[in-house]
Amino acid sequence: MNMAQRNIIAGTVLLMVAIGYGILTANLPDRSLPDTPGPAFLPTLITIGLLVLSVALLVGGVIDARRESEGTDGHGVPTRGWIALAGFTVYVTLLPSLGFVAASVLFFAGLMWLYGERNKILIGLTSILVPVVLFYLFTAGFQILLPRSPL
């Protein structure tokens, strides 16, 4: 996907965000005194800015798309990155039910594999050792109560 196509997508998404933000701004309660700016003052300015700039991005993208025919996705997320991101989401979701140590062991092992480590013994040992050490370091050493498993 070339940059022009990316700009068209971003311009469209940001335009929708600007419209949504504008609708929410219009519905904010007006508690200001006469002739003074209220809670909706800055959000109104932001809405106007977002609308103008997202339209500019969209129009610029459409114009550029006619010139650019091909392009490379230079800053695209690698396949392993998508897997890591999905893993991150699963990890965050499982954290309250599994607790920090159990959830982190699985996440850590998965990340090690994604970063190219194939030694199963090393993956097993490190992914258990690091979360356990970090858990005790932060809970006992720094008094930060990390999530524990309710089970």
Binding site: L28, H75, A84, F108, E117, L134
Partner: protein, 502 residues
């Protein structure tokens, strides 16, 4: 005032503060050395540790990391021709050719010494300028403060050179995020969707961890394991070769002075930062050199000037941060966030309400430079082994520390979701080649901007001419115009330079 200076000095020489500074320097050098890691990421990783430490110890640790990171970046630039930090890019031009000639020790020794001199000079500037500037800033009204924050936001222009539309959109997204939560004047809930966790707004540091660390972790997954282990070829360096010879010391006197002056000055200006200071001093040193043809072939002057400059930037950037609460670069923006966690708001009142702390920061900065020198010379042979550290272990540790950092701010699982959201936002912005720094600055300065704007307009009953009648406000708005114009001219120059080549 002498009593405050003494208190600050005593605070900085407490064993706990000194240990934190030394540890920070060591960690900074290590983080700076690892290609793919930045000083910002390093600071984000150690942030959760600082929540439980005293503010003076926390800031000593973070300052050590800031200063050490600048130096560490040059090691990988010299040894591997991969700048560990953007500020070290100019150092690689002459540093790596020296390594290729088998003079790695000489290149690293000059780099360490020049960094030390630059850092020390900027520390002196910080000590002399910051208190006076804070005194002046005490007289600022809401009108002046709005214009000052506006000036701080013009940093955005420096990062929006490629696309103004994207730079400004990034800033507006940041401002929109700042409006989430209770408004700063009336306390009305805005854009919270009934979620009590959003009433206090989005925590700046949580957003920061997501924006910087997650895209970096994902990006490193795209690097082949071979590239990640590139440092395994780092050469062995005998200690003796690190000590600069007298002839080299004579050669680097002028470049170091140029770098120190340029770096300290540019550090104070919002947005200029380490990379610009390093390249300007490199260029100026080459122009004033008797042997300009040696530059790029392994001239020690070509290492000394940028290294002195990028370390001098650190002290320069601390001046507006401490006296005005305006960050000079992304790292000082993170430092502001870290201080706010401890209930300390950087700005002119810091020198009135907590002068011991303010001077303590300056002295800790001094010690950070000393430790940098000692650690670099004493431990360089071991430190270069970090370049070969296995990323398959390092990166997952960083990922887990990011989660702990986001959680520990408020012991909130909700904040981890917020961090993940910002991580995805950061990836999307990178995909679009939209700069992240304007968003970061808007997150730091947005609340102050709105608060002072509304107070000023309430006082004047909506009359905007009030911004053009106060002398300070006029000065800041004038400087904002200069800042924007400078960015426009620089961007045009860059384009005209690159167009003939293409």
């Amino acid at each position: 005032m002498p009593g405050d200076i003494l208190q600050g000095f005593l605070q900085a020489v407490q064993p706990s503060s000194l240990t934190a500074t030394a540890l920070g320097s060591l960690l900074g050098i290590v983080f700076g050395m690892i290609p793919g890691m930045t000083i910002s990421s390093g600071i984000i990783i150690v942030l959760p540790l600082t929540f439980v430490l005293d503010p003076d110890i926390s800031i000593a640790l973070l300052l050590g990391l800031y200063v050490g990171g600048m130096l560490g970046g040059s090691f990988s630039a010299i040894l591997l021709n991969i700048p560990g930090t953007p500020s070290a890019a100019a150092t690689a031009l002459d540093g790596h050719p020296l390594v290729a000639r088998g003079e790695a020790g000489r290149a690293l020794g000059v780099s360490v010494l020049a960094s030390f001199a630059g850092g020390l000079f900027s520390c002196l500037c910080l000590f002399l300028i910051a208190p006076s500037l804070a005194d002046i800033a005490l007289g600022f009204q809401a009108v002046d403060l709005f214009s000052l924050v506006f000036l701080g936001l013009t940093i955005i222009c420096s990062f929006a050179a490629q696309s103004w539309v994207k730079g400004l959109l990034s800033a507006l997204i940041g401002l929109a995020i700042v409006t989430v939560g209770q408004d700063p004047i009336m306390g009305s809930a805005r854009f919270t969707f009934g979620e009590p966790n959003l009433l206090a707004g989005v925590n700046f540091l949580t957003a920061l961890i997501g924006l910087f660390a997650i895209p970096q972790l994902i990006r490193n997954l795209g690097t082949s394991p071979g590239d990640l282990m590139a440092g395994a070829t780092a050469p062995m360096i005998p200690f003796k070769s690190l000590l600069p010879k007298l002839s080299d010391l004579r050669r680097i006197r002028l470049p170091v002075s140029i770098g120190a002056a340029v770096g300290s000055f540019l550090g104070m200006l919002p947005g200029a930062g380490g990379p610009i200071a390093a390249f300007i001093s490199y260029d100026y040193t080459r122009k004033t050199s008797r042997d300009p043809e040696e530059f790029g072939q392994g001239a020690v002057e070509g290492i000394a000037a940028p290294e002195s400059a990028n370390n001098a930037v650190t002290g320069g950037a601390l001046i507006p941060m401490m006296t005005l609460g305006i960050p000079g670069d992304p790292v000082t923006a993170i430092l502001i966030g870290a201080l706010l966690v401890h209930g300390l708001a950087p700005g002119p009142l810091l020198f009135i309400e907590r002068p011991d702390f303010a001077y303590g920061v300056i002295f800790s900065f001094f010690w950070a430079n000393i430790f940098n020198l000692v650690i670099a010379f004493a431990g360089l042979r071991l430190l270069v082994k970090v370049l070969a550290a296995p990323r398959a272990i390092l990166m997952p540790i960083i990922a887990i520390l990011c989660v702990i950092g986001a959680y520990a701010l408020r012991n909130s699982l909700f904040d981890i979701h917020v961090m993940l959201f910002f991580g995805i936002l950061g990836l999307a912005m990178r995909w679009l080649e939209m700069p992240v720094v304007p968003l970061l600055l808007a997150l730091v300065l947005g609340r102050q901007l709105e608060e002072n704007l509304r107070i000023a307009l309430t006082g004047s009953q909506g009359d905007i001419s009030v911004f053009f009648t106060s002398p300070f406000s006029m000065l800041f708005l004038g400087l904002s115009v200069v800042s924007v114009a400078w960015s426009l001219i620089s961007a045009r120059r860059e384009r005209s330079k690159s167009s003939p080549a293409s």
